[in-house]
């Protein structure tokens, strides 16, 4: 679901970023108003979970791959506004350090995965847990909320892909950016997410939430008391996820809409290959990440993947600890 650069026109990217700016600003304001200061570093742990979940690629029907996001999990733990900022920062690190998702399309990716996903998931979770009382309602809310959340995000990404050939073509009628119209992109993105990725997201969300509730209830509670105590099991789970990340390499092939410019001409869609490379994909914006595709030159893929997972997780925890410290310093002394 990470839209690379040059799949969306710069104008689409600009519109999506313009939509995200007020959302980011409002989310930051809400976090400052509502979140106790000592819970901000914990948000880094949540962002690290999202980052790691996105590294577990799973094979999807149709020969593509997908992954869970964990946005609903963070929204349930810390609230949707905090989830929006946490997933946005995780996406930023993925884009800048690992070249996963574009720099120009960062706003669009954030709209799908950091806004639509956590807010939809959290809304459904809240409604269902209110409608059905007890633990069953909460569980149903987590499962259905996270499932619909990721499918909604995939749908939004598909729409963004699908409107490109309608809006931007050259004189020969060939698409300049993503070449697949809505009729192709929506089924190609939404159906695999409904069949596999959504179920994985729901299962991961429920499993991790139950684990956190049992082993580190301080993280699941919204009170600030002893928020950072008893986090050992959580760090244990993070370490286990880091070690298991090479499993994400098993899923072969690219995710839908994330082909490299060299491959896109040969991608078969509906029985026939595209046959050309969209002009802007060859001549558009190009950014070289430090560790492209979570690999390190000179290291085996699995080792590079683990190293990337460690670096990304540590970086997210550091960033949110720094935000927590600075936030503390800017508070007026009472």
């Amino acid at each position: 679901m990470h839209i690379p650069d040059n799949y969306l026109s710069p104008s689409t990217c600009g519109v999506m970023t313009a939509v995200m700016v007020p959302i980011w600003a409002y989310s930051l304001k809400k976090i400052k108003e509502e979140m106790p200061q000592d819970r901000i570093p914990l948000l880094g742990v949540g962002a690290a979970f999202a980052f790691l979940l996105m590294m577990f690629n799973i094979p999807l029907p149709g020969g593509t791959t997908g992954h869970a996001v964990g946005g609903t999990l963070i929204a349930i733990l810390f609230g949707p506004y905090a989830a929006c900022i946490a997933v946005s920062i995780a996406l930023l690190i993925q884009a800048v350090l690992f070249g996963d998702g574009g720099i120009l399309s960062f706003g669009a990716n954030c709209f799908n995965m950091a806004f639509i996903l956590p807010f939809t998931g959290y809304g459904i979770y809240k409604v269902l847990s209110r409608l059905i009382p007890g633990a069953a309602g909460e569980k149903a809310g987590i499962l259905i909320g996270s499932y619909i959340g990721i499918v909604a995000a995939a749908f939004c990404a598909a729409v963004e892909f699908g409107i490109q050939p309608m809006l931007f073509t050259d004189a020969a009628g060939q698409a300049l950016y993503c070449p697949y119209p809505l009729g192709v992109s929506i089924p190609a993105m939404v159906i695999p997410h409904m069949l596999v990725a959504g179920i994985v997201e729901a299962a991961f969300t429920l499993a991790i939430y139950s684990f956190i509730q049992k082993s580190a209830p301080s993280l699941a509670r919204s009170q600030s008391q002893n928020a950072s105590t008893g986090l050992r099991p959580i760090y244990g789970l993070l370490t286990a996820l880091v070690i298991c990340t090479p499993l994400g390499l098993w899923a072969e092939g690219d995710a839908w809409g994330e082909w490299s410019p060299e491959d896109i001409a040969d991608v078969a869609q509906g029985g026939q290959s595209l046959g050309y490379t969209p002009h802007q994909m060859l001549n558009g914006f190009n950014f070289n990440a430090i560790m492209p595709d979570y690999s390190v030159a000179g290291l085996p893929d699995a080792a590079g993947y683990i190293l990337s997972a460690i670096a990304g997780t540590a970086l997210l925890i550091i960033i949110f600890k720094l935000i927590g410290t600075m936030y503390h310093e800017t508070l007026p002394s009472k």
């Binding site: 030159a297 190293l307 540590a314 925890i317 550091i318 720094l322």
Partner: protein, 289 residues
Amino acid sequence: MKPSPQNNTASSPALQEIQQARTVPLPPWLVVSEQYEPPQDADQYIGKSLYHLLSRLDALRQPLQKEQFVLSPVFKVLLILLLIILISMSTHILFPTIVGTAILVYLAAQPGKDILTLLKKGLFAAIFTFIITAPAIWLGHPLSCFILSGKTFLTVLLVAILSHSTPWNRITAALTMMHVPHLFIMMLDMTIQYITILGDLSIQLLQALQLRSVGKNDKKYQSLSGVLGITFLKSKELSEETYQAMVCRCFTGSYSIPRTHTFHGTTVLYIIILISLCILFFWLERTAS
């Protein structure tokens, strides 16, 4: 309260004198209420100097913080030295990337305030290196500029981590165990001690100056030489006293460390870690090139 008759009789002439004095009018200058308002003066110089000195001394006086990983200081010093040498020697970005990731993990386990302090030091050095080597970008070697800045960032960060996580006296003890000349260690030790002592002295001098400054002072910078001069005189006095104290206590400048350091399991582990780091470095250099 009534005055006792005893007192009344004894001090009656004095009392009369006071009563007489009461009738004398006050001098006019004492009657006029004063309207003196000191002109606004920018006293940022003293304020800033005080703040800077205090923050520096505070950083120096931190040695009694808790150590999270109880590693032998000798091992720490050797490890940091080895890492700095290997990072500088590396011709490929792979080894620095791995060390950088390890540093990130270490930093992620620290409190936010400490991370900020450490990162500031590293970033300052990296930005300075970048500015110095920036011409390389236009001379056709843009990569070396970034690699040098990155290596500087890592090495300075490593030293910052060492000094932040290990009290100074432990580091000097570790240097003694590593057979660094005693004279060098004595100078290092004394310098660190004297920085705090003389720092305290200059804080007192600056505070005295601040308390005595009323109104606008145009010759503020002249007081700087006074502060420095007195600090110098005091340091000379202190050094003589230290020498006398050394003579009295039969200190000849050689340090003796009680030999508690025996060859046991952890030592073997430390040696294995250091050797495997070297092996990793050479293996990575060979496979990457």
